[in-house]
Symmetry: C2
Subunit: 302 residues, 2 copies
DNA sequence: CAGCATCTTTACGAAAAACGGAAAGACCCT
DNA sequence: AGGGTCTTTCCGTTTTTCGTAAAGATGCTG
């Protein structure tokens, strides 16, 4: 028997002081109500209701059970409400993960606006340059580059982005000439430490004709910020995301090279994506933050 | 769906961190467990579990729901226990009703022993000379004379008893002679005020040959104690229960007459009965009190 | 006091729900 | 790349639950 249904019937019976009346009120037959009450009494091993065909009253056990059950039912409904509200209302803790560079450059600066707009949301932001297991680590949203094939996740594109090669004017002035990508073999290239063997940069011309160049240099790092700093200091040529060096290109600290090529580590889709679990009941805080970030990055990046 | 079963499955799932493991533990198929969890999430409109085929973790809503539900389940079990205990343990309030005379003469004096033996039981004793509605008035036990035909009640015989006629020696000395019941017509008979027309006393000889005598007198009352007092004062002849005049007969305050006849108001079964509801789950306090009273009256009456 | 209306309970056939097995898709480990 | 385990969905079967009907009980009323 469904206990919840049974105790609700029990409550109605007490309220109406009659099995039949409770049944009418709940759209049940008297037989069903009677069965429910008998089953409940059997489960408890106690008679709850003194009943004849004309009168019905509570036993002491029934009175005690009724009082306690009423409180418990109220708690259950309250729990239901608060859990449902958790889904509908923008509140709770939002667990974010993003790569360090975009996190520091765009997520953190946008945080204040978001938290002011939704004061009941708290954010727990983790930064790393490695992918996270959204399910295992309990991360609500991961900010990544490029699509992914995991079908149990949703990747929502926040902004377009492309990679580019750049170096400081000082480095370019004193280094060997750079006319084609093949010339990079003679240069110091600042690469991500991805532990995937020899670093390779891929080029694409006119949307086709891909080719790869093996590169090397005097400085590697798993930190985009470190590579950026190294490039600005004239240590070599860096492959960066366009948005991460926008200011530096604008004020001349860095100069873009090979502007006619698309460039990448692997795939050429370098868009910024918000990745989260596929869910029928997506928490509102997740939907809100994704939408907020999409609008925010649209203003800043493009 | 049975909510209670579903949340218990939910608890097991969290404990085992796996739907399949929870199913194995509960003797359910993974399919069933999965259905239960989906149904629970649908009811709440919230995703409770982040699950892939290899990992399972709680969402924030799941965490909140789990914590609250755990407390609620504990309360439900506690309520179950205390209600069951109420049935098994001799405690609670025992609501008694009895006729005034036997109540004052035997129930009240026996009370101390009973309450001392079962200190967790409290007694609420009501005395009246009218039958009570056990169901409507919430009476646990009614002490009555004679069987009753109500099939939803149980009448447990506490003691045998018979009625007898008696009067004070003073009255008998100065009154008209009493050789056969027919002579009662010339006497003052002290009758119960039962509002049933002319009072009638029934006689039976040798277990057969019933006959009735219409009687009248100078004093009526609905109080047995009042009639007893009137008889001792010499106001006339009273029909009393044997136990109610045992002391008076012993010390000569009253004298029994027509000893050869059985006498009654209506039926000749004047045994003392404890009447209570028929119930599969008879509260222990009721069973204990009936047994106690049976033993107690056996000592005193017979 | 007998008839009537309403109530509770049980029996029984029908409707609904839950179950397990199988199959498909996903995912981790080797 | 393949094996093994996991979750989910589909499907046929079993279990449970429901309403109707009938019987017994009870209080009211003429």
């Amino acid at each position: 028997m469904s206990w919840l249904k049974t105790v609700k019937i029990f409550e109605s019976v007490i309220q109406h002081r009659s099995l039949s009346a409770a049944g009418r009120n709940l759209g049940l037959s008297p037989a069903s109500v009677s069965r429910h009450m008998s089953a409940l009494e059997n489960d408890l091993g106690v008679r709850l209701l003194n009943r004849t065909s004309r009168r019905l009253s509570l036993t002491e056990a029934g009175q005690m059970y009724f009082e306690k059950i009423e409180a418990i039912l109220a708690q259950i409904e309250e729990t239901d409400r608060s859990v449902k509200q958790l889904h509908n209302a923008p509140k709770g803790v939002l667990r974010l993960h993003s790569r360090m560079l975009i996190g520091q450059q765009y997520i953190v600066p946008a945080m204040k606006k978001f938290l002011t707009k939704y004061p009941e949301i708290k954010v727990d932001l983790r930064l790393s340059n490695f992918p996270v297991d959204i399910v295992a680590d309990g991360v609500d949203i991961d900010i990544r580059m490029g699509k992914l094939a995991d079908s149990s996740l949703v990747a929502s594109k926040l902004a377009n982005s492309e990679r580019l090669l750049c170096a400081s004017p000082e480095y370019l002035a004193k280094c060997a000439p750079l006319e084609t990508p093949n010339d990079l073999a003679q240069h110091s290239c600042l690469t991500y430490r991805l532990d995937l063997g020899i670093p390779v940069w891929r080029f694409r011309v006119d949307g086709q004709n891909d080719f790869e160049i093996a590169v090397d240099g005097c400085f590697k790092s798993d930190s985009g910020a470190a590579i950026l700093t190294a490039a600005k200091a004239g240590l070599g040529i860096a492959m960066m995301n366009d948005w991460s060096v926008r200011d530096e290109l604008a004020d001349g600290q860095l100069v873009r090279i090979f502007q006619g090529y698309s460039v990448s580590f692997s795939e050429f889709d370098n868009g910024v994506y918000a990745v989260f679990q596929k869910s029928q009941h997506l928490p509102k805080k997740i939907r809100l933050f994704v939408d907020f970030l999409k609008a925010e990055l649209k203003n800043r990046l493009n």
